[in-house]
């Protein structure tokens, strides 16, 4: 560690990092450049602006198993606000940068790249760029201005210098190109969730907090005098719900920077300042955006509520037609696939809609400078219950991931007595029939197997025994076409009985009217059968039609003494007698009950399938790509 005495105020100034070239005196803000033996005073550094970050110089954390400490920061301002780049040093002496944005952290390290870099002016959002072999997508282009610095820094820096920067992402990887130097400086790293950094020694004062916090300031709208609140120092703009004026929250007189026409449309469910508990965390409603898209000149409007947990985590709750989504920034850069698909964290999302969305009204506080009429191109990809949304602006592409929330979850969280009624099917609304449908088919398989085993049992135990055989010859003359068989005895429980006929019908037919008669006179079983058998040869070869045999089954035939009666009808030109052998079989295997059971078991799964298809049809009827849905 190098220790110096501030030439301006005499205070002790430490250069803890060997890589630090510059340090800002904590007492007088003199900017001190490290020399071999002493330090050079470059003049006073501007005060850093208070913001919502909980990080501070000397904050500590862990990344990839290595601990680090925050040594210093530079503060950069751009069109929509400002951000910090925190200079960090790891225990092993490596140094890197930590920045924050939209609830995510970005850890980067300086690298040298093999590929030639395009000029800043030649880049645009969505463009592909290769860095050391990795394919990146340009997600943000800004010309920021350094406005302040503190602590130790690895290079000479002063307030006011311009920093054209490009952000690039691919999957979890993140890169920044700083075009303020020649050649440009490239930093490579990845996006990290706050929880994964295990940060400690953070600022005690929370810039954002909820009700009961003395830090919440009451202010008045510069335009209409309406009462407004200002929750934290990181608020960049306040939108007045009464007159639509957008105020610059960082300006001492809350200068008006933009103005929305009209007022808040009906349907805003969550009030500004409301607190609710979602996913075991308390969130405050800071702001509400009303966004709309025009489809065939018809406006479709939805509400987006900005929530904050008071600990560096912003979330959005969106509501459209009574459907709610819990939205957060995508931790990784999704990749776009062919056929309007996107892939994110191992899941494939299907393209659902593209639109030009405009902010038509806003109320409350926002961490960026909001402007009336802000517009961007949105593209939604779905994998219920998730929705991936890509928003493309002139200089930026952002991705967020939303999860469908049941309205009851929101009403319970914010204790809302009334909620808008749900209309239609939301793009990412989970189908209530999806799981049911799958489980039902599994159950069908189980029942079907059980039915087959039961059937197999009855087939194996069936007697299928021939109990009577009777042969008869039917003459062509009508008087001799009827026979009555001998008697035979059926025994056992009431069960089925099959009468099989084997005839010598040849290129002819007979109609047989059969009657199984119980000799006690109580029951008769009639059946009318036709036996036809034709065969021959033609240009295609041998052919046959029909067969000379037949089988008919009678159900629930009780035991007892029976006989058969048969009356035969023949063609008018019949000349030959027909021989017919009747065999009676008791307790034959029957498959009709098994078949009926199968059909009956299919009814509910088919109903569930129909419900599922109908639900998906409703979902995709609202899509821009409904014709392509499967």
């Amino acid at each position: 560690m190098h220790v110096a005495k501030c030439p301006s105020c005499g205070a002790r100034v430490e250069f803890r990092s060997a890589g630090a070239l510059l340090a800002v005196c904590g007492h007088c803000r003199a900017t001190l450049l490290k020399r071999d033996l002493d330090v050079e005073n470059l003049g006073k550094m501007a005060e850093v602006l208070e913001d919502g970050s909980t990080l501070q110089v000397r904050s500590e954390g862990r990344y990839s198993g290595a601990s680090f400490v925050v040594l210093g920061r530079i503060q950069l301002q751009y069109g929509a606000g400002f951000w910090n780049e925190w200079y960090i040093e790891f225990a092993d002496g490596r140094t890197g940068w930590l920045s924050e944005g939209s609830g995510l952290f970005y850890v980067t390290f300086p690298i040298t790249v093999e590929e030639p870099l395009p000029a800043f002016a030649d880049l645009q959002p969505g463009q592909s760029l290769r860095l050391n072999g990795w394919g990146f997508t340009v997600t943000n282009l800004e010309t920021a201005r350094c406005i302040a610095g503190e602590g130790e820094l690895p290079f000479r820096v002063g307030a006011g210098y311009e920093v054209p920067t490009v952000d690039l992402r691919t999957g979890p990887r993140f890169a920044t190109i700083d075009y303020s130097d020649a050649p440009p400086l490239v930093y490579l790293g990845e996006t990290v969730e706050a929880a994964d950094l295990a940060l400690n020694n953070l600022r005690e004062e929370r810039a954002w907090s909820g009700k009961g916090d003395t830090a919440v300031r009451e202010v008045k709208c510069t335009h209409c005098g309406g009462p407004l609140t200002l929750h934290g120092k990181a608020v960049e703009s306040i939108a007045c719900p009464y007159c639509g004026s957008v105020l610059d929250a960082t300006h001492p007189q809350l200068a008006i920077i933009s103005r929305f026409e009209g007022g808040m449309p009906p349907g805003m469910c969550l009030q500004l300042g409301a607190r609710g508990k979602l996913f075991d965390k308390e969130f405050d409603v800071l702001g509400c955006l009303v966004r709309e898209v025009l489809v065939e000149n018809e406006p479709y409007r939805w509400f987006e509520y900005l929530l904050y947990d008071g600990n560096n985590e912003f979330r959005w709750l969106t509501e459209y037609d009574g459907h709610w989504n819990w939205v957060k920034p995508a931790a990784q850069m999704p990749s776009k696939l062919p056929a309007r698909q996107a892939r994110y964290q191992g899941k494939t999302f299907r393209g659902f809609a593209v639109a030009q969305a405009t902010v038509s009204f806003a109320a409350g506080e926002f961490y960026w400078r909001i402007h009336a009429g802000e517009s961007c191109r949105t593209a939604d990809f779905i994998d219920p219950p998730l929705v991936l949304s890509e928003e493309t602006m002139a200089n930026e592409i952002t991705w967020s991931v939303g999860e469908y929330l049941e309205p009851e979850v929101v009403s319970r969280a914010f204790q809302l007595a009334q909620m808008p009624a749900r209309k239609g099917v939301a793009p990412n609304q989970p189908s209530p029939y999806k799981g049911v449908h799958g489980r039902m088919w599994k159950l069908f398989g189980l029942f079907s197997l059980a039915a087959f085993l039961i059937q197999l049992y009855f087939v194996l135990v069936a007697d299928n025994k021939e109990v009577f055989r009777y042969g008869a010859v039917f003459e062509p003359n009508e008087a001799e076409r009827m026979v009555v068989s001998d008697s035979f005895e059926l025994q056992g429980r009431p069960t089925n009985l099959a009468i099989r006929q084997n005839t010598d019908v040849n290129n002819s037919w007979i109609g047989v009217s059969l009657l199984l008669v119980a000799e006690d006179g109580k029951l008769k079983f009639p059946a009318a059968r036709e036996i036809a058998y034709y065969h021959g040869n033609d240009e295609d070869g041998e052919w046959t039609e029909g067969k000379p045999s037949d089988e008919v089954t009678f159900e629930q035939v009780p035991p007892g003494k029976y006989h058969l009666e048969a009356l035969v009808e023949m063609p008018a030109d019949a000349r030959q007698p027909v021989r017919n052998v009747f065999t009676v079989h008791r307790d034959v295997p029957a498959w009709s009950n098994w078949l009926l059971a199968q059909l009956f078991l299919l009814l509910l799964p088919l109903f569930a399938l129909w419900k599922r298809i109908s639900f998906e049809s409703k979902r995709w009827s609202e899509s821009d790509f409904s014709g392509e849905s499967a």
Binding site: L443, I454, F525, T553, V557, L601
Partner: protein, 57 residues
């Protein structure tokens, strides 16, 4: 719906088992109704047919 399907499934299997045991068969022919039997008995044919041509047609 899953609970309902369990009920439907078990009921179907039970009914199928009973139908198999009792010899029910939808493809099978049933006994003739009482009054029809009576008509046949009164036909005086010496057999139970009566006018079987009509029956067959």
């Amino acid at each position: 719906m899953i609970k309902l399907y369990w009920l439907v499934g078990i009921a179907t299997l039970s009914l199928m088992s009973y139908a198999q045991y009792a010899g029910w068969d939808v493809y099978a022919e049933s006994p003739m109704a009482e009054n029809t039997s009576a008509q046949y008995a009164r036909s005086g044919h010496g057999t139970s047919f009566g006018s079987l041509h009509t029956f067959h047609k």
